[in-house]
Subunit: 405 residues, 2 copies
């Protein structure tokens, strides 16, 4: 699969985060000739926050992580991820695989199993051959390296066409802290939860409850505000680990830290959309003037998930009638004659009809851009939301009529 | 556009329904060299029931019909439909067009405007050139013919690849009554309302309130149980007219009549799915064992609307993991270890995992059929629902990246 045309020019240079080391392994779970396992080792004192899929058929690894999150711990921690197999809907064998992996790693790292967080991503419904990983723990641990994050971003990819990373440096009263993150995801991406897999690390020192609150809050406007295909994974996992190894304390009220974290999360979320299966357009849907923020998000998602809007984007057709259709079907409040619609800066519709100043030629010219903004003001209230999506192309069909995910 | 491979061999021979005549006209609204207006004239004493789109941006014609439905009337009635332009999101000009058309037709047929029901289907957001129709009413009326229903089914088509008709004859205590119907629809088809346009006629005599109750009830398990692309039209209209001209009275409690009507509605709804844009597979999703009927429908729709399930169907891939994913994301209750999944008669998954008896070869062979059944039992209760859908193919993208709807 060729790299997405919306991909960043290159993987960013990410700073090291004190207290975190990364290792990778080519275990041959499904893919050959590439790494498919990543390990992140976290220093004692690390706080861990997480957000997971709400799916009723979520994977064994997700259930295990949810159980462990928030348990008090002074010791270190570890994150172990494999690609190629989701270990989801694998019956009682699912949890047995998770336990085998956490026990093998815990033994080697001298960590309690409650401090080991796993994730699996790939095919649903096939047993995970966990022996391929558990028997090679010494090799994986020997690979641990403070500079290994770029390799880790590669190891967790499935249908991704490029690895995804982002970072921010934040000044605190006592000195600078770093925030770095990696993510994977390309299909089965829908809002209402963390996307496939994302891991964010900081050397700031912050209490677990505060870290969790901040992560959940920012998740709503980043990973929960993207959609590729309206389908929701059984494995979605977002974990934020704060090692504290910088020695600099922050609280959830520290605006600079929250902004830095927000920036890293938004950047990673955008990179997932830019690698949406078959994507050729990166689209921001900005909803304002809704009766509530919730209504705004419902309208924005209806636009971002509509197959007819997304195929029009693929066809570079300024077919704003389909935006009207999506607003109409969303179920949230709208009044036809108060709606205003823009494509970029071009006012397209107002007062229940096409704007007098609009010309189809300007609309069509705008649609040729690879990055597009659809803006809608409902004229009802102050509710607002922004959602990011991509177009629906022939390549999405090709990828998903063949690939077994 | 070639005829859908799922199309019936031919348009059915429909019996005449006493009290109804059909006329058509090539008005050149958008299409050339084909009829694009249909008129149905209904005898005095006709009861009319209807179900319409719930869209917040519904068309002027829909708003007008909703206003008129249920008004008492001894005089006749008429239904006027154009294809090629939806007259939706056309501001105040939308209702002006509806009024111009109903006035012109009312004058000619000597009918109150409150007895004239219109619909428009096609492009959203462009003004309807209603003069092209209103000035040619005498011609349209001169074309009225008791045998004109096949021509009417043609005139209301947009991206449809074949006209859709169905009929049933029902015995009542005093003698036989006929039920005939026509429909159009191919894209922008989603449950939760009547699909694009469907008109059903019977010469039975039945009170308006009873007719409406029966129509709404049966709509839930027919037109509201189909989806092509999860997108919902601004113009969806389903009208049922009972002329009473057979002289045979029926009540809503008449099981034979309800069954005949159900059969006609289900047949038309299936024909819409079989003409789904780009469809190559006709798929029945049968949900049983849910906590409630509502939960069952929510699960069935999650499967039927999932782009990943629909592309797997297109790829003839027995990718049941995506069915698990869709059940997980639907938001309705499910317990992993109680779920059973079948492809046709083949048990695929149970007890939270692939069934011991399942083989990928049997699954793959089954998926080559043009008509498929996905059956799921949740093992939770007695809730059940059936939904019909089609696959998501390259042709859906081709049709919708080009066609302006």
């Amino acid at each position: 699969m060729a790299k997405s045309p919306l991909a960043p020019a290159q993987f960013p240079t990410l700073p090291n985060v004190a207290g975190v080391r990364f290792g990778t392994l080519a275990a041959g779970i499904k893919y050959q000739n590439r790494s498919d396992v990543m390990l992140a080792e976290l220093a004692p004192g690390t706080s861990i926050a997480g957000v997971f899929t709400q799916s009723a058929t979520r994977s064994a690894a997700v259930l295990d992580c949810q159980k462990k999150l928030g348990l008090p711990a002074a010791e270190g921690a570890a994150i172990l991820v494999n690609s190629g197999n989701a270990n989801a809907f694998t019956g009682h064998r699912g949890m047995a695989s998770v336990e085998a992996l956490t026990k093998a790693l815990g033994d080697q790292l001298k960590l309690s199993e409650t401090r080991i967080f796993t994730a699996s991503t790939g095919v649903i419904g096939e047993p995970l051959k966990h022996e391929k990983i558990s028997t090679r723990m010494p090799e994986l641990i020997a690979d641990l390296d403070a500079e290994g994050i770029a390799m880790a971003a590669q190891a967790i990819m499935t249908t991704d066409t490029y690895p995804k990373g982002a970072s921010a440096q934040v000044e605190t009263p006592s000195g600078p802290v770093n925030i770095v993150g990696i993510a994977k995801g390309s299909g089965m991406i829908a809002p209402d939860m963390a996307t496939m897999l994302a891991y964010i690390f900081t050397d700031a020192q912050i209490e677990q409850a505060e870290l969790q609150g901040l992560l959940s809050l920012l998740n709503e406007v980043t990973f929960n505000a993207i959609t590729v295909d309206s389908d929701t994974s059984t494995s979605d996992t977002l974990i934020l680990a704060a090692t504290g190894a910088s020695g600099h304390c922050v609280s959830a009220q520290n605006t600079a830290f929250a902004e830095g974290l927000h920036q890293v999360m938004r950047d990673l979320a955008h990179q997932v959309v830019r690698d949406g299966e078959g994507a050729r357009k990166f689209v921001e849907v900005r909803l304002t003037g809704a009766a509530s923020d919730q209504d705004a998000k419902q309208h924005a998602k209806a636009i971002a998930n509509s197959p007819l809007v997304k195929t029009a984007l693929a066809g570079e057709d300024p077919n704003w009638g389909r935006i009207v259709m999506a607003l109409g079907k969303s179920g949230a409040a709208a009044e036809r004659d108060l709606i205003k619609i823009w494509l970029g800066d071009i006012l397209v519709a107002e007062q229940g009809w096409v704007a007098a100043s609009y010309s189809e030629e300007r609309g069509a010219a705008y649609m040729k851009n690879a990055e597009l903004v659809i803006a809608v003001d409902l004229g009802l209230g102050n509710g607002a939301a922004t959602v990011w999506t991509c177009d629906l192309t022939h390549d999405y069909i090709s990828i998903n009529a063949d690939y077994r995910s």
